[in-house]
Point group: C2
Chain length 247, copies 2
């Protein structure tokens, strides 16, 4: 059994995806916002590469049923309903809606994982829910790949740190689990930054968000287990893995 | 002033290369073998992407002047003069020769750095020589990028650890130096693995080399400062930065 970490979705090879459970991590902020949206009753989140695609897709749907969401350079996209702050995805806003979302990094990484047995969206806010699913998979003999979305295809400390927390705990009390060099490195980062606030302070993107006035988002993204939800990517949309579709 | 680390040459952007000093690191084993070859009197090392290119290029040169070198899956390429073990690049073999070299990862990363102010080849065996050059550049206001070649475009622990040793020391007693998330992570790895032998034991590629019988190569690649040489990539070949071409 293997636990591998890949930095940046672009480098994913078929052997790192095929038949595996793949967890996509974009802590600041796409993964966190997706967890918030689904926990607060959104019907689905549809990740799209570009804002043009969001607009096009929205035209094919009933306007009252959809929300347009996303960011470019951290800022909400003009004309869209929502940006990429987890706090925007409140129940009174998102319940029953389909959210068409484009973000700088997260959506691309999710798309690159297509072909996996399961693709889940992971972050600190849904840590234990996803960890439980990954442990179950690993116990059943399924290999796991954690994809750190990163920033513009480069390494991001906060995604690696979050991946490291999964690595450190997913194989506890299991024997015969091997991991790649990136997974070892992520575990090292998690040990160095036990406090998530410190991890975000050390990260370039964390600092950029703070400077841009998104301090509250950093607090929200660091709240471990605030949403007990497993977002599952399937048929080009992300929905909540719930009792009605338990596997 | 910046010190940035990039994992895998494929992700290099123009802003990470242009006007910078770029150090390419493929500790196991291309960077080490290149340092050994030049320190032992090779006229030049020409990095090439494929073994076909090596054969083609060799036909345009006097056979007595060239050596064909390289590996595929760690093994020497059939019909070539040399593999990729540093110990093969002895003075009696390489002196005065032009070495046409292809390796799985190193050569691609070197090619991707074209466009930089200077491209140097770095490893543990020429650590202090390269460090001195990088410090001089940084002091003069030139940004630095360390490219970790990695394995098949993926993250390799040994390259990151070596990069981390440069990161940790290149900016000592300099103020106003910023680094990206990857550079911070590399410094963390270097602190964790002060002993290079332990770093190689933890690395997947280090273990693979050991299992394939290249234990001696691991020892050679861990010998800090065994060659006081700065290999400089220019005009598609790597030569020794020496007194006659000091800059």
């Amino acid at each position: 059994m293997r636990i591998d970490v890949v930095f940046g979705g672009a480098g994913l090879t078929p052997s790192e995806v095929s038949g595996r459970v793949v967890a996509v991590i974009d802590v600041l902020r796409a993964s966190t916002s997706i967890a918030a949206a689904l926990a607060n009753g959104a019907r689905a989140v549809v990740p799209l590469e570009t804002s043009d695609e969001v607009v096009m897709r929205s035209k094919a749907l009933e306007r009252a049923d959809v929300l347009l969401a996303g960011e470019r350079r951290m800022r909400p996209i003009p004309g869209f309903d929502l940006g990429n702050s987890p706090s925007e995805f409140k129940r009174e806003v998102v319940e029953g809606k389909t959210i068409l979302m484009t973000t700088t990094n997260g959506t691309g990484a999710i798309a690159s994982a297509a072909g996996a047995r399961d693709v889940v969206i992971a972050s600190y806010v849904n840590y234990t829910a996803v960890l439980t699913m990954l442990r179950t998979a690993l116990r059943g003999g399924t290999d796991i790949t954690l994809v750190c979305a990163g920033r513009e295809r480069q390494f991001a400390l906060e995604d690696a740190g979050c991946a490291g927390r999964f690595v450190a705990n997913v194989s506890k009390r299991l024997i015969g689990v091997t991991m790649n060099d990136a997974a070892q490195t992520c575990a090292l980062i998690d040990r160095r930054y036990e406090q998530i606030a410190k991890l975000f302070e050390a990260s370039e993107h964390g600092r950029a968000l703070r400077e841009a006035g998104f301090e509250d988002d950093l607090t929200a993204c660091a709240e471990v287990d605030s949403y007990s939800v497993i977002p599952l990517y399937q048929d080009r949309q992300i929905t909540k893995l719930g009792p009605d579709r338990e596997r």
